[in-house]
């Protein structure tokens, strides 16, 4: 496939013009090749502003409550066990499961579903337990723009204190410098433009006077894995007095 025909296939899939077979073929390519996956993600991002142009419709009453029981139904796409293969010692789980599901549906209200969505969109209801360090990030005018709290395992809660004006096609990226004379390390992206909790493995425990900053980077994050864009705000951490 030429570069140009791959680009066209990607665009047609994003627009919904491609056949189901072509869409499946591209999904498969993207699953195997991160380069294709990145191009597909970029194409989706290019057209995503059109999703924002739809009218908002208030969700009808009972929307989440109607959703909750559906989350508990078995996945229709998963393979069914062959009937008749059950041996004598096998306990028939289906009726038990059905009973359990009925009970769970009653217990799980729509709140669970809305929490899932909230979590996906980068809201967080978890908090790093007792932050080890706290930093207030200031912009170049000295205005506080974000509060950063980080736990011993570097789970970092970023609370934006102003709604930043993120340029089109850019994303906020959060950085820290675990070693004072070492390079900045990315803690993650605020891809929804909202406050969220970031988690990262393999960094040393954060310490007082550690630098935290947020920069604007190209969509998908800094291409060099180092801050390249303008700094939205930065600050040095302090240990809270407990």
């Amino acid at each position: 496939m030429t570069e140009r025909s791959l680009d066209l296939l990607i665009d047609e899939v994003v627009l919904g013009l491609a056949s189901e077979a072509d869409t499946a073929r591209l999904e498969e390519l993207a699953a195997r090749d991160p380069e294709v996956a990145a191009r597909l993600a970029r194409a989706r991002d290019r057209f995503a502003p059109l999703d924002e142009t739809a009218e908002e419709h208030p969700l009808p009453d009972g929307f989440w409550e109607r959703l909750a029981p559906r989350l508990d139904l078995p996945d229709e796409t998963s393979p069914r066990p062959e009937p008749g293969t059950a041996g004598a010692e096998v306990i028939e789980l289906a009726p038990l499961r059905a009973r359990l599901n009925r009970w769970r549906s009653a217990a799980v209200t729509g709140i669970a579903a809305s929490l899932l969505l909230a979590g996906l969109l980068g809201w967080s209801l978890l908090s790093p337990s007792d932050p080890l360090v706290v930093a207030v990030l200031l912009d170049d005018r000295g205005e506080a723009i974000a509060l950063v709290e980080s736990g011993p395992d570097n789970t970092t809660r970023v609370t934006l204190l102003e709604r930043p004006d993120v340029p089109t096609g850019q994303v906020m990226q959060v950085w820290t410098k675990p070693e004072e004379d070492g390079p900045p390390v990315s803690l993650g992206l605020l891809s929804t433009g909202l406050s969220r909790v970031l988690s990262i493995e393999g960094l040393p425990e954060p310490h007082p006077a550690q630098l935290y900053e947020i920069t604007f980077e190209p969509a998908g994050g800094s291409p060099t894995n180092l801050p390249t864009g303008p700094i939205l705000g930065k600050g040095l951490a302090k240990a809270p007095v407990t």
Partner: protein, 154 residues
Amino acid sequence: MTAEGGRMLGVARRMLGRIDLAEDAVQEALVLVWRRAHQFDESRGSAKGWLYTILRNRCLTMLRSEDREMPTEPQAIDRASEGALVDAAFDRLPTTADLRGCLEGLDEATRRAILSSYVLGHSHGEIAGRLATPLGTVKARIRRGLLKLRECLS
């Protein structure tokens, strides 16, 4: 969160034309999100993008499926409202959005064809039918338009 749900409902309604079908689509999309949450990989695009991709795919499947009573007789198509939806989508793009500037660089027929595929879920055939233009011509026009858009946006 309810606001995001409301936006999802709006996107689905714009494609499916009926609020009851739109609610079904959003519910089905959320069930898929729930089941596939473990597959979500942030290095491959934002959660929001993933969410809307799943939603739009659900709507497209509903639009393309045979067993739904979608009125397709010409007299049943409300061209005025379809045109208004496409125009509104374009008008509501922020003036600072690159996509808007680049769409402005296309001729009107091509721009509307591309927008009606994304916004209304129209297929090549549906676009050709509405424009009373041969299918091959429409496909070629969209291909050229997409190439121009890519060059402009990159």
